[in-house]
């Protein structure tokens, strides 16, 4: 009941925000509203019991995504060209799609209906068997890391591909393309003469990094895991770059190291699979990693989550630097 009320409220705001995003002529306004959109979405996920997803949406949607959009906007026009033309065809197509979807909703299970088919099959098995087979409290992490670990490997590769793509397109001084690292402006950033952000930022960065490690290794027990940790770690380093300057940030974590992180995390993940194969199991079958299958599962999940975290942190940082360096 409370859930439904919260949902209705948040979702209504969500629709208004979305309309605002689409209507805004100024792209900066649109990006700001997208940030609100993500926060609302995350809050809604949280209300719907999806804590891990809420954390991810906040870190990625409201955090990284906004930073990237701003990075891109810094390099492109910020005003959308006014176009009075109404696209009737587009309107008809979208309306048609929506009507079809609405038509389907009336036979879909209600929100929270415990009798819904999704709660009868497969999922109960996860909830029931996880304490016994994997023995970690966060079932989401268990499904992510073990039962559907192959999907997660795919997810890491998706992130890696995005990294490869952005670096391929934009280059990264010192690693990809002809520009040396020293090409980037040194020292003064736009924020360097603002005292408050400087002080607060320097103070807060170690805590964010610590928090990232916490999210990384606490993922088996609470919401979190490699992906969220990687995003938070990247956010911390982005903060460092914002207050200390691009080049300083690239000195702390050099472009080459970023590339190694991108590839290394994925390789770490994959090598777990190869090791399980070598030990006689199927790909990513962690049971064989340890004489006790449950311990094997836990080891496997910890290592692959670490792989995820490294790759995600590496890729997101590399992408940020690629955009930022393009501006200098």
């Amino acid at each position: 009941m409370i859930t439904v009320v919260f949902s209705v409220f948040l979702l209504t705001l969500l629709v208004i925000t979305a309309l605002g995003v689409v209507r805004a002529q100024n792209l900066f306004t649109a990006v700001m509203l997208t940030g609100i959109f993500s926060l609302l979405m995350a809050a809604n996920f949280f209300v719907l019991d999806a804590a891990d997803v809420a954390l991810t949406e906040a870190a990625v949607g409201a955090g990284i995504s906004t930073v990237l959009l701003l990075g891109a906007l810094g390099l492109t026009p910020r005003e959308e060209r006014a176009s009075g033309a109404k696209r009737w065809l587009a309107l008809v197509v979208t309306a048609l799609t929506t009507v079809v979807l609405l038509y389907a909703t009336f036979e879909q299970p209600r929100l929270g209906d415990p009798q819904a088919p999704v709660h009868q099959h497969v999922a109960p098995w996860y909830l029931e068997k996880t304490p016994e087979l994997v023995d970690i409290p966060n079932v989401v992490t268990a499904v992510l890391g073990s039962y559907r670990g192959y999907d997660t490997l795919g997810e890491v590769i998706v992130v890696l591909t995005a990294g490869i793509g952005v670096l391929f397109l934009l280059g990264l001084p010192g690693a990809v393309g002809d520009r040396p690292r020293d090409d980037i402006a040194k020292g003064r950033t736009y924020l360097s003469h603002h005292l408050v952000p400087q002080v607060v930022g320097r103070l807060v960065i170690p805590f964010i990094l610590l928090f990232a490690l916490y999210v990384q290794f606490h993922g088996e027990y609470g919401p979190g895991g490699g992906f969220q940790a990687g995003a938070i770690f990247a956010a911390a380093m982005i903060l460092y770059a914002l207050i200390e300057g691009e080049r300083e940030a690239l000195t702390v974590i050099s472009p080459k190291l970023l590339i190694w992180m991108m590839a290394g995390g994925a390789l770490l993940y994959g090598s777990v699979g190869l090791v399980t194969m070598a030990l006689g199991g199927n790909f990513l079958d962690y049971n064989v990693l340890h004489s006790n299958p449950v311990a094997g599962q836990q080891w496997g999940i910890i290592v692959i989550e670490l792989g995820v975290g490294i790759t995600v942190a590496g890729v997101l940082l590399a992408i940020y630097h690629a955009f930022a360096a393009r501006g200098h």
């Binding site: 038509y103 036979e107 559907r148 795919g154 490869i164 002809d178 991108m262 994959g270 190869l274 199991g281």
Partner: protein, 496 residues
């Protein structure tokens, strides 16, 4: 476990994990070698798997050792094996022959990233072909799509960027539509495994969401498969991509989407939705026919060789969908066989285009005027592949066109319409292939063309191999045909 039993996983994992390694290899030569080696290994695995499938086995593999609806299981049947062969074969040929061509188009400092993305495309497409899990299909679809965007954006001029952006938008819409459909099916069945879905769907009484899901999945995949009129991303993407990328992607990526389409519609929905076959056919058939006509018509007047071939691809995709929309054993056999044969023909043609591009300044028809005499072997291969595209007997293209027409004839009146359309488009194919041949052989060469030499050995060897395959599989089509027939039996297996 024996190595043989691990093959299904290795099929995907080898290229997937070589990709990050390649990112770390900074020398272009080394990264090319690693990519080629991985691709060759993948091809060898695909051949081995095809051998097992032909022996009548359907191969299962449980990722992470978790049983089917709980974990992700891999499932390789005849059609999947056929698609695997296409994907790995096209990638291997293009890589082996493509070193020189890619070296001219992509700057050395970024080439390792390019090869890594190439391997990811390969892994993604193979991943789709082997998996038995609906969501896993989405993940690998996105893997391959994202990496394909990178490959296409690597094209030589700025139009590659806009073409890629268009592809990115449309590809993402397609994938999201697919995701919506899968979500609705999951909502009503509680499972993501194809086989399990089919079983559990039988008990679902409220079918509205399933019908809508079927619609979304079909439209989403049709977008990915470049079915008319959702093909608008294809000509630009194929035209402006690096030549070798076009050869690779054109040979297999749309076919993979069609593969998923067939799997979903035949395995999952066909038995459980009343008259689904009818809806499926009545949705697909007219669009397939229109696609054939429009694609062929545009190809007839195009003067850019790559764009011409891209529009021809739109028509050829129509052939495949036409075969599938007949919902008969003969039709699906024809569709599967045409996937294989069209990949052979179109792959070889794009390889030839790449060879021309290495020696000439452009690939418009007037740029290649008279090149037949300067590059006789390249041109001969192009002519053979063109004959296969037209469906001249003795080439692979003839076999599938024959099967397709035969399947259409068996359909009665509606089939006759299909026959007429196919015949018309074959005539159009005669025209556009002939325009290429005439330009290359019977027109007066420009000074630039007269200075042209035969293409370098690797690309030439690959090209001749592809052309020879077109002839070989035209005369001895037993191998692809038995896979195609097995696919048809499997897909229709539940229907009887």
């Amino acid at each position: 476990m024996s190595l043989t039993a691990q093959l299904p996983a290795l099929q995907v994992v080898v290229p997937l994990l070589t990709a990050p390694l390649v990112v770390l290899l900074r020398t272009p030569g080394l990264s090319w070698a690693a990519a080629t080696a991985a691709s060759l290994t993948a091809f060898a695995i695909a051949v081995a798997l095809a051998g097992q499938v032909l022996a009548g086995e359907v191969i299962h593999y449980e990722m992470g050792g978790w049983p089917a609806p709980f974990g992700i299981s891999l499932n390789i049947d005849a059609l999947g094996s056929l698609v695997l062969l296409l994907v790995t074969g096209a990638s291997t040929l293009a890589l082996v022959g493509g070193r020189d061509s890619l070296a001219t188009e992509i700057e050395a400092g970024r080439r390792h990233l390019f090869y890594a993305a190439w391997l990811i495309v390969l892994a993604g497409l193979s991943g789709i072909a082997v998996t038995g899990d609906a969501f896993n299909v989405f993940v690998f679809m996105e893997i391959s799509s994202l990496a394909t965007y990178v490959l296409i954006a690597a094209g030589p001029d700025r139009r590659a960027l806009t073409a890629t952006f268009k592809y990115l938008i449309m590809g993402t819409i397609g994938a999201t539509f697919y995701l919506i459909g899968v979500g609705m099916v999951y909502m009503m069945t509680g499972t993501l495994n194809f086989a399990d879905m089919e079983v559990r769907l039988a008990e679902v009484t409220e079918l509205r969401p399933i019908v809508v899901a079927a619609g979304f999945i079909t439209v989403g995949l049709a977008l990915k498969a470049a079915m008319f009129p959702l093909h608008v991303w294809l000509p630009g993407a194929y035209t402006h991509a690096p030549h070798m990328v076009t050869a690779f992607v054109a040979a297999c990526s749309t076919k993979v989407a069609i593969y998923v389409l067939l799997r979903f519609d035949f395995f999952v929905f066909q038995n459980n939705l009343s008259q689904h076959d009818l809806h499926f056919a009545s949705f697909l058939l007219p669009l397939a026919l229109l696609g054939i006509l429009v694609g062929s018509a545009v190809a007839m007047v195009e003067s850019n060789l790559k764009r011409l071939l891209a529009h021809s691809s739109v028509a050829q995709i129509g052939y495949i969908l036409l075969g599938a929309s007949l919902i008969s054993e003969a039709g699906i056999t024809a569709a599967a066989a045409h996937m294989f044969n069209h990949a052979l023909a179109k792959g070889a043609m794009f390889l030839a285009v790449a060879a021309f591009a290495l020696r000439l300044s452009g690939v418009r028809l007037n740029d290649i005027a008279g090149v037949g005499r300067q590059m006789p072997l390249t041109f001969a291969a192009l002519a053979v592949a063109g004959a296969s595209l037209v469906g001249i007997p003795g080439t692979a293209g003839f076999v599938s066109k024959w099967l397709l027409l035969q399947a259409a004839f068996a359909q009665g009146t509606l089939g006759l319409v299909a026959v007429v359309v196919v015949v018309l488009s074959s005539l159009a194919a005669v025209v556009y292939v002939w325009r290429i041949i005439e330009a290359a052989y019977f027109c007066e060469p420009s000074a630039e063309v007269q200075a042209a030499r035969e293409a370098p050995l690797p690309i030439l060897a690959v090209l001749l191999l592809a052309a020879a395959a077109n002839i070989y599989f035209g005369l001895v089509p037993a191998f692809p045909l038995s896979l195609a027939e097995m696919s048809a039996t499997e897909l229709l297996g539940g229907l009887q």
